[in-house]
């Protein structure tokens, strides 16, 4: 597969290491009520959609950036590639 890196353009997916669903960005608050259950849901439960999937890829053999790739799991068509850091910030993550 080819991942169109937002900074570097098209790169072979072989240069990347796959992690999984981009929901792994949304790490729960450790101090909230029922944190253990929240972390369980966060770490173990997956939507695993047949269709558009937002997922994390690490450009290990490239610029070492984490990307959020929107890819169709039925066709492998990639419709969007973003820097994970920007996505994380847009989802309200900071320090």
């Amino acid at each position: 597969m080819i991942i169109n890196h937002p900074l570097l353009g098209p790169r072979d997916s072989q240069e990347f290491v796959y992690l999984g669903d981009a929901s792994l960005i949304d790490r729960p608050d450790w101090q909230a009520e029922g944190a253990v259950d929240a972390f369980y849901e966060y770490l173990y439960q997956r939507e695993n959609p047949a269709g558009l999937h937002q997922e994390l890829w690490f450009h290990e053999q490239g610029d070492r950036s984490w990307l959020v790739v929107t890819r169709n799991t039925l066709t492998h068509e990639i419709t969007k590639v973003e820097l994970a850091r920007d996505v994380a910030r847009s989802r309200g993550r900071s320090k």
């Binding site: 570097l8 072979d12 490239g62 610029d63």
Partner: protein, 190 residues
């Protein structure tokens, strides 16, 4: 009393750099370059850019690019991160030198011996490299650089002159394997 002078060896373990020649290509071990990584810290990009411009005399290059001026060459290696090349003879202490210039606007790490470099020169460069890495060499312009994989080794490929001169940096500990891959490919392709 300390009286043991330390004798350096090259990444291939020799006393002097190694050179291999093929029809249309020479592969030479690169040992005279000091390297450091330069990473901008958050919060003060303008100040960092200004400092860089003042220090190097040129703007730091953007994604995939290389910029040279005076003794320094800057290679983009990642978001807000560059590798800085300088002559080893004058800049063995490259990290402190940069630190002095950038203060707390940047994080600097010595990389000189983290990498082992090889220069490929001659018109045989592309036919050799195309059986080694997946970069679109035909489109790779002079003064551009990219990380790539060569026989399972993470490398940085720098195009100094399109079709004629490239530098491959690989992890120093695997320099012998990288050299083996380059030489084998040259023999096969040329």
């Amino acid at each position: 009393m300390a009286d043991h002078r330390l004798k350096p060896i090259t990444q291939l373990g020799g006393d002097t750099p190694r050179k291999d020649s093929f029809p249309g290509l020479t592969i030479s071990e690169r040992t005279d370059t000091a390297l450091a990584s330069l990473s901008a810290r958050q919060g003060k990009p303008a100040q960092f850019q200004a400092t860089a411009k003042a220090f190097f005399g040129f703007d730091l290059p953007g994604a995939g690019r290389v910029a040279t001026g005076g003794v320094y060459t800057a290679i983009w290696t990642g978001q807000d991160q560059w590798f800085i090349e300088a002559p080893f003879a004058s800049h063995e202490d490259i990290a402190p030198i940069l630190k002095k210039g950038f203060g707390d606007t940047a994080s600097i790490t010595e990389q000189t011996d983290g990498w082992g470099g090889f220069d490929l020169q001659g018109q045989g460069c592309i036919t050799t490299l195309e059986i080694l890495c997946n970069l679109d060499l035909g489109k790779m312009a002079a003064d551009s650089a990219s990380r790539t994989v060569i026989e399972h080794l993470g490398c940085i490929l720098i195009c100094r002159e399109t079709g004629q001169h490239y530098t491959v940096y690989g992890g120093r500990s695997s320099a012998a394997s990288l050299h083996h891959a380059l030489v084998t490919a040259a023999r096969s392709a040329l």
